[in-house]
């Protein structure tokens, strides 16, 4: 049931504003809150970068907040996620604290990687997330492997990973799509099509939109408005239900736009200004704000609360120590006699899990 491509830079059409079947008002506010938190943290981090407090470069997901927040909202505590570099919202939904994230950006000891890796190259195993590597889309295979284990053990669980338009050109995309199709795995592949891989536009990346390829691997692909958190949630919820029902993988193309440069140093002069302005009108936070405001939610108060939370987090993070240089060579190998460490369950705030018990894990 692959739908026609909507990856043209003109973007998707505006979705229906009818009340979604699977979301309460609390969910809708929760989606907004997570997106606000992501944007506010990244804006604060960019300021820290410009002040010289963030080493290396800095990557953000401005304008793409709905892609990670919406998809992560549909995932259960026992599900597992491989998170990409413009998907901070997924970490927030799974329960990573803003101060840990800001510490991470600044290379502090209190960051998720304790200064061992930079910016958003992290995954907090305590939240069921594996961080990306820079070789894209390597994590598609890791997610497929998680799903393979779930299926082998007969567990009602699902894996999800995000990857970008550029990474669909690499062989790991093919290997993961094929593997998942052959083994009919409970995995969700979210293609984050933000129109540019660094400076390369999608028309130089592929002749046929990758969402069309899903059918050739034996499972459905669909294009979703990636600037609509509720549409992302709903597509992911349906894909997850499908996976748990034994019907295999789904490819979701989240059609969105990279509104900032590839990283802080990139002025993005290769992107037509008109295109950016056109997408600015589709801002995912503005859209979700309008929805909940219509239900009487005080969005300004919510924004102020989030700003205060992030300021406090920045204050704490800035006061934190840098890592001890003497630890730089530690923890290359895990000791044989140490406790086994595996991915743990993360937060799963969707009302579908909190109001009714989630699908339990099957026993082996």
């Amino acid at each position: 049931m692959a739908t026609s491509s909507t990856a043209a830079p003109s973007g998707p059409s505006t979705p229906s504003h009818s009340l979604p079947e699977h979301l309460t008002l609390d969910d809708r506010v929760g989606l907004l809150r997570s997106m606000l938190l992501m944007r506010t943290i990244e804006e604060r981090a960019m300021k820290l970068y410009r002040q010289g407090k963030v080493p290396g470069s800095f990557y953000d997901g401005f304008g793409q907040e709905a892609v990670s927040v919406g998809a992560a909202w549909a995932m259960a505590a026992a599900d597992r996620l491989c998170v990409l570099h413009r998907d901070l919202g997924a970490h927030l939904v799974r329960g990573v604290a803003p101060r840990e994230i800001l510490s991470q950006y600044m290379g502090r000891e209190a960051g998720i990687t304790h200064g061992r890796d930079g910016n958003i190259h992290f995954g907090d195993y305590r939240t069921g997330c594996v961080g990306m590597v820079s070789m894209l889309p390597d994590m598609m295979l890791v997610a497929a492997g998680m799903a393979m284990a779930f299926k082998l053990r007969g567990e009602q669980r699902c894996a999800l990973t995000w990857f970008g338009d550029g990474s669909t050109s690499r062989g790991d995309f093919h290997e993961a799509m094929n593997w998942a199709g052959v083994q009919n795995l409970p995995v969700i592949f979210v293609l984050e099509n933000n129109q540019f891989a660094y400076s390369t536009p999608i028309h130089l990346q592929f002749a046929v939109n990758p969402v069309e390829r899903a059918k050739a691997y034996g499972f459905p692909g669909m294009s979703v408005d990636g600037n609509d958190a509720e549409a992302m949630f709903e597509a992911t919820r349906a894909a997850r239900a499908r996976a748990l029902d034994g019907r295999g993988p789904t490819l979701i193309e989240a059609v969105t736009m990279r509104m900032h440069g590839h990283a802080a140093h990139d002025d993005m002069k290769y992107v037509p200004k008109a295109l950016v302005e056109e997408w600015r009108k589709k801002d995912p936070i503005d859209r979700q704000s309008a929805r909940v405001a219509a239900h009487g939610v005080d969005v300004d108060a919510l924004k102020a609360e989030v700003r205060e939370q992030v300021e406090q987090a920045a204050h704490t993070a800035l006061a934190g120590a840098m890592p001890d240089p003497a630890t730089a060579i530690d923890r290359v190998f895990h000791p044989r006699d140490a406790d086994e460490i595996l991915l743990e369950d993360g937060a799963a705030p969707w009302s579908g899990f909190t109001l009714t018990p989630p699908e339990g894990r099957g026993s082996r």
Binding site: R80, I112, T113, R116, D117, H121, F122, G123, D124, Y125, V130, G131, V133, S134, M135, D138, M139, M140, L141, V142, A143, A144, G145, M146, A147, M148, A149, F150, L152, A159, G171, D172, E175, A176, N178, W179, V182, R331, V332, F333, H334, P335, R336, A338, E340, I341, L342, L343, R364
Partner: protein, 324 residues
């Protein structure tokens, strides 16, 4: 452990895998043609009948896929053992080993318990793509252990230890040893430590080597006009057993290092550097290396024999150094 039957090196690997699969339901074998066919070298022959298609998984022809999915399965509680059909093919899965598996613990505190089996080595007219010894590729990359047993007993004990080790382990199994090397292999489950082993005691010269070259070294130095030659079998290349190497050098004062791998930056180069750095005062002669020159492994038998270290080359190197 009860009576010790005689097994080939290949049978010993199978025995270790089977033992660990019976003991631990988390152990899962993945590879190309390992199921119904039993593997290109028959290491997993009969496994699919005992353990089923889920745990003896015939995968697509995709080495990055094998390693990458193994990593995913490992971090949610499985203990995958990946077979590269030939060690050479691991180049197609290199990125997943180096960048995903090798760095996960350091970056994120998440150990990756996978074992990757690499049937390696030449001597069979396998040509440039079925004869390589790529262990140094992995020694150079942080976060990976690299082991290379030379005997049947160690082959079993080290495959079990590799599976139980919580880190990614590259298990080098030399094809030349599969059916040529036999030995008593204890029944039941046991681990061989990741440490060097003295294959033969000696006092005048030590040959430091690993894998198939242990047997070449033993044969080459069996009768060197009565000279007392030690052979040190490294068994583990990362981490190197530095104490055992330095002790052997101090005991013998003359060192020949043999690699079947291409010479530049081979495991033996690291051994030579270690000796130069920490045992210079103990040496009574230059460190001598015997290795394959930096060429692809040629196909035609005479060409291949011209590049791989032979018994004669090792004997000649030892004789010259003894006379130094």
């Amino acid at each position: 452990m009860t009576a010790a039957p005689t097994l080939t090196y290949l049978q010993a690997i199978s025995d270790g895998l089977r033992s660990e699969m019976r003991d631990d339901e988390r152990v899962l074998l993945m590879g190309e043609d390992i199921g119904v066919f039993g593997g290109a070298f028959k290491v997993t022959e009969g496994f699919i009948e005992e353990f089923g298609i889920d745990r003896v998984m015939d995968t697509p022809l995709a080495e990055a896929g094998i390693v990458g999915t193994a990593v995913g399965a490992a971090v949610v509680g499985m203990r995958p053992v990946c077979e590269m059909q030939f060690a050479d093919f691991v180049s197609c899965g290199f990125d997943q080993i180096i960048n995903v598996a090798g760095k996960m613990l350091y970056r994120q505190g998440l150990p990756v318990n996978i074992t990757v089996r690499l049937p390696s080595g030449g001597g069979f007219s396998g040509g440039p793509f079925h004869s390589q010894n790529p262990e140094a590729w992995f020694m150079h990359s942080p976060g990976l252990k690299v082991v290379a047993p030379s005997t049947a007993e160690d082959a079993k004990g080290m495959i079990i230890a590799s599976i139980r080790d919580p880190n990614p382990v590259i298990y080098m199994e030399h094809k030349h040893l599969y059916r040529r090397v036999k030995g008593e292999v204890p029944e039941g489950s046991y681990e061989t430590p990741f440490a060097a082993r003295v294959a033969r005691e000696g006092t005048e010269l030590v040959v430091i080597t690993y894998g198939a070259m242990v047997h070449t070294a033993l044969e080459a130095t069996e009768d060197l006009d009565g000279a007392s030659v030690m052979v040190l079998d490294l068994r583990t290349l990362k981490p190197l057993d530095e104490q055992a190497i330095l002790s052997a050098v101090r005991a013998c004062s003359k060192v020949v290092i043999v690699d079947e791998a291409n010479q530049t930056c081979a495991a033996g180069a690291q051994v030579a550097a270690l000796v130069a750095e920490h045992a210079f005062e103990d040496l009574d002669g230059p460190v001598v290396r015997v290795a394959t020159p930096d060429v692809p492994i040629p196909f035609s038998p005479l060409l291949e024999q011209a590049v791989l270290p032979s018994v004669d080359r090792v004997r000649e190197a030892c004789s010259q150094l003894l006379e130094y």
